[in-house]
Assembly symmetry: C2
Homo-oligomer: 616 residues x 2
């Protein structure tokens, strides 16, 4: 079966997918995350897309959800529509998750608040006279209200006032005067939200008056040159006294490059950026702020701060207005950092009507449970298996990577870029292992069975893929033994079991501590890049996700990034972040004996399967 | 009559005075200001001194005020006791004004509050464990309470905690963490109050735990090299773009020299100074803070700020703890600065039971009136006549200066240092002019009469002192026409009339604006170095002070310096300073037509005289 091309408008992004792939999934492959509050059941009508041309196949359930009028205009539900041939699709902005209203409005009825800390006031003052000798400061306060004025601002005031005919624009942050500018600049108030990842840094520029997103820019975290993961960077700091300053310089440099690019794209001045917010893991946040992360590198993984920080951006070297503030997310524990809190804020974690689990799967998995207003958070060191590392033929989700596997009598695969596969990425590994379990190729302990051991009814196509050597059985996923073979090695399954078991054990312990039965979980929210591309039913089959209905498993996109945007935009969200952080009990499992036992048990795959998710 | 030496213990200070001088005045001559809440009437018993040896003459009124026991021990009232010969006197600390309880306790019943913003807490924390992974910040907060922590403090925290066994001393300023120090330094909390004069800078070091004064140091303001008065320094700033930075560097340098000297005297470390407070005129305060004073040099004399400032002392270059704050007094108007507000604070200006006038006489006279809770303040440019400048034979109150004149049939003088006089200082000028008015040598318009014009009954000794030349008459104060003559020239009287008239006109206008009759004034408080050395009855005779009873005229010493100490010691006093400043209506007389008329009238000396002050 050959892949077909789908083009998404208005962005023009393209992707090759197998016929039968849902439009929802196809869009997700190019980073377009659609709204799916119903979990892809075809009932909420939020993932509306318009087919411009080409061949697709809509489920009948669409007819119940969509009006005739919409259907006649070519609208489809992306979750219920399968790609059949080459296709051009238009995505309305309202359907995109990144309009970031989904959780806020659809599920909780909350409105996105544009209530930034920074605002401006244009003023025109009377010049002093012999009967009006008010001080420069009081003269300004009488016009704009009583505010706190720094000595730096006072120093600029006399000449600025007198050289500009006593008119100008005051920039205020809460009850503090940030700056006084020449002329009327009251329409120019910008801010940047940063998602500081260990690998990638994403900055988004906003108009703080309207809340409009003006530009996005992402770059590799410059610290990559000093080590791939947080541990190697922490070790660097422990070994070399100047490494902290150097790593800080590098990440601030990356942020400044992004800021410059954003300013260029949106044609605004650096000086009109008055707010910066960052969210990252504890190590990234501490290095950004020049706070030694050494204690994060050894038991018991102690962070320097937990409450949010508000710093002078200028002092850290950020190329923004000299008075601009930098808001740094609060952080819960050594491995439950500001990115997790940002995700909690975006997910409105404490506002759901049933117990809710927030899961961000990665090298370090972060898991938060909210039940009855009580918040528990923990982390699990899953290792890099989900990113393809330590897997024999594993690779990142790049061109040539198998990213999807369907086992149904035989094996179907989907390769990024529609080329001959050279390896497989994490989502494909999960698909493959889930499929192998269902097909009976793999037993609950994670052993790949030999042709002698499998059920005799198994198709010979599958049996032929069981390659025995050195006392182990490996599973041939693509190619042939002779040409371009891609295997799931027995060893790879073990690696997955370790990663999967760590997350699963952590989830189980949180649920047990909170007295919540997995069946009572109302919602499982999947955050982060990886979580948003996994097939829910497969992740559930291997036990990575609890046994809950598909509708309860929701993709919430890059929640950390969304959280950073929310706090950038509103002082209430900042308070909310601090409040959530303070209320959350941090559970450190690294030395927990209960965890060791649970981890051992969680290595065994569940023996039951649940309903299939129809959108996958 | 030759002068006799008086020695004051325990300081060992010495002074030469004419026999008949009161001990109160003799002490004042060496800067020992005694408490005189009754105005020197001999009724309050506060100026108690103990005569160790020598010859003195106590008024009978002492017997009524002092117990037999005290009298038998050698105690006398300084205001009622005249020096007759060489004398050694012990001054109990309670009698000294500088114990600064006078106004607070005696008159108002208020207690000196030692409630500094800065305090310390020693802590000993539990080290982190696997079941206690609180952040460094939270671990500390749990011990010392929730406080604001700067990024700089967070940066020091990890290594400081881990290198010192999780023990140390937190330095707090209100709800803000200033510093964390190794070991237990909780007993070491110091502060410095500065009185920043245009000519002289005085710094006083305090123990902020006990309120004890540890050392005093005064130095010439280094800015003297850039001009004698504020106007010349403002002109410098207007002419030269780097002058502001240079003048600031110089005054901060003077302050640092004083701080180093104080630390040496008291054997403490610079790092244990956590609070600095300054009081000065608007120009001095603004330059100290790097705020351009240019607008203070031209009509309408606008200052940059009025509310108090709290700055980081370290940022201005002060050699104190890196986290220390600098408190800068609020200021009312271009020529009613932080020193005046400090004086108002010290004088508890709004707490008296009758209308009260606060007068600080100098090159720039500052006058504050409080009546019925309403505060009015103004300034009058008296010029330097009171400091001896522009007076033909005028000089500062230094050795060789006539500092006291009594005209009673003939002229008696007192010379500083008991030497042949070489000139006269401001107090002597006032004495002389008042005496000349009383003797009929001078008429109300300020004209020195010729021998033909004076009353025929005048003693020939006085008549012989009227020296006619060039159509004017000058008054020979000391020496002879041939040898070492010291004159009061007609021109000098005119200079005094100008200075005197400016102050008097300002006082009159304030009284009129507030609807207060001079006779209703309950108190006239004399602040500042000059005010504390004038003879009240003489200052009143020439109209410099209103016509009120001696008991109502009180010397309150260096009120600006005292005010700076009060705000250093207590956050309530800081609020009080801001509140007083805000409540005070500033009246700028510089362009006021009413002032021009009043000034003309005030040049004429009053024609009436009042009761003599018995202590003079």
């Amino acid at each position: 079966m050959s892949e077909v091309q789908v083009t998404f408008q208005p962005s023009g992004q393209r992707v090759f997918v197998l016929p039968g792939t849902s439009l929802l999934e196809a869009a997700g492959r190019v980073g377009i995350i659609l709204q799916t509050p119903c979990g892809g059941a075809g009932t909420c009508g939020k993932c509306l897309v318009k087919v411009i041309s080409g061949d697709c196949n809509a489920a009948e359930s669409c007819d119940d959800t969509l009006s005739d009028d919409l259907i006649n205009q070519g609208y489809h539900l992306a979750c219920q529509t399968k790609v059949m041939g080459e296709l051009v699709v238009d995505i309305p902005e309202e359907s995109m998750f990144e309009s970031r209203q989904q959780i806020l409005e659809d599920d909780l009825g909350a409105e996105l608040e544009v209530n930034p800390v920074v605002y401006k006031k244009y003023f025109k003052l009377d010049a002093p006279t012999s009967t009006d000798d008010r001080s420069d400061e009081t003269r300004l306060m009488d016009a704009i209200g009583e505010v706190e004025v720094s000595i730096e601002q006072l120093r600029c005031m006399p000449s600025l006032m007198r050289n500009n005919d006593w008119a100008g624009t005051a920039v205020l942050s809460g009850d503090r005067l940030l700056a006084v500018e020449q002329g009327d600049t009251s329409g120019k108030v910008y801010g940047v939200a940063f998602d500081i990842g260990t690998t990638t840094v994403v900055g988004t520029l906003f108009n703080l008056l309207t809340g409009a997103e003006l530009a996005v820019e992402s770059q590799m975290n410059g610290q990559i040159a000093h080590g791939d993961d947080v541990i190697s960077r922490i070790l660097k700091v422990r070994e070399d006294t100047v490494a902290l300053a150097e790593l800080q310089r590098v990440i601030v440099g990356t942020a400044n490059d992004i800021i410059s690019s954003l300013c260029g794209k949106a044609k605004i001045e650096h000086d009109h950026i008055y707010e910066v917010a960052i969210a990252g893991n504890a190590t990234m946040q501490q290095i950004f702020c020049g706070l030694n992360p050494a204690a994060l590198g050894e038991v018991p993984f102690v962070q320097v701060f937990d409450r949010s920080l508000t710093l002078q951006a200028n002092k850290l070297g950020l190329l923004v207005n000299v008075g601009a503030d930098l808001f740094v997310m609060p952080q819960i524990g050594g491995f439950v950092g500001g990115d997790t809190v940002a995700g909690m804020v975006a997910a409105r974690i404490d506002k759901w009507d049933k117990p809710v689990l927030l899961v961000d799967i990665g090298t370090n998995g972060e898991i938060v449970l909210c039940h009855d207003g009580k918040l528990l958070a923990t982390s699990a060191a899953a290792g890099p298996a989900f990113e393809g590392a330590r897997i024999t033929q594993g690779m990142r989700a790049a061109a040539g990577a198998i990213e999807k596997v369907i086992i149904n009598g035989d094996v179907e695969i989907n390769v990024i870029g529609n080329v001959t596969p050279v390896g497989l990425c994490g989502t494909a590994l999960i698909d493959a292992v889930a499929g192998m379990l269902r097909a009976g190729v793999l037993d609950e302990t994670g052993r790949i069975l030999s042709t002698d051991e499998v059920d005799s009814s198994m198709s010979s196509l599958l049996k032929d893929r069981l390659i025995e050597r050195d006392g182990n059985v490996d599973f041939l996923l693509a190619g042939t033994v002779e040409k371009n073979p891609i295997y799931i090695y027995q060893k790879d399954v073990r690696e997955l079991q370790l990663a999967n078991g760590a997350i699963r054990a952590a989830v189980n312990i949180l649920l047990r501590r909170a007295g919540v039965d997995p069946a009572d979980l109302g919602y499982v929210l999947l955050a982060g890049a990886f979580g948003n591309f996994i097939r829910r039913s497969n992740a559930r089959r291997i036990g990575l996700l609890p046994q809950v209905a598909c509708g309860a498993i929701r993709f919430i996109g890059n929640a950390a990034s969304l959280g950073a945007k929310l706090v950038l935009m509103s002082s209430n969200e900042r308070q909310y972040a601090d409040e959530l952080c303070k209320r959350t009990e941090h559970i450190d499992l690294s030395l927990d004996s209960e965890f060791q036992m649970e981890f051992g048990m969680a290595m065994i795959f569940p023996d039951d399967d649940f309903d299939a998710c129809i959108d996958e």
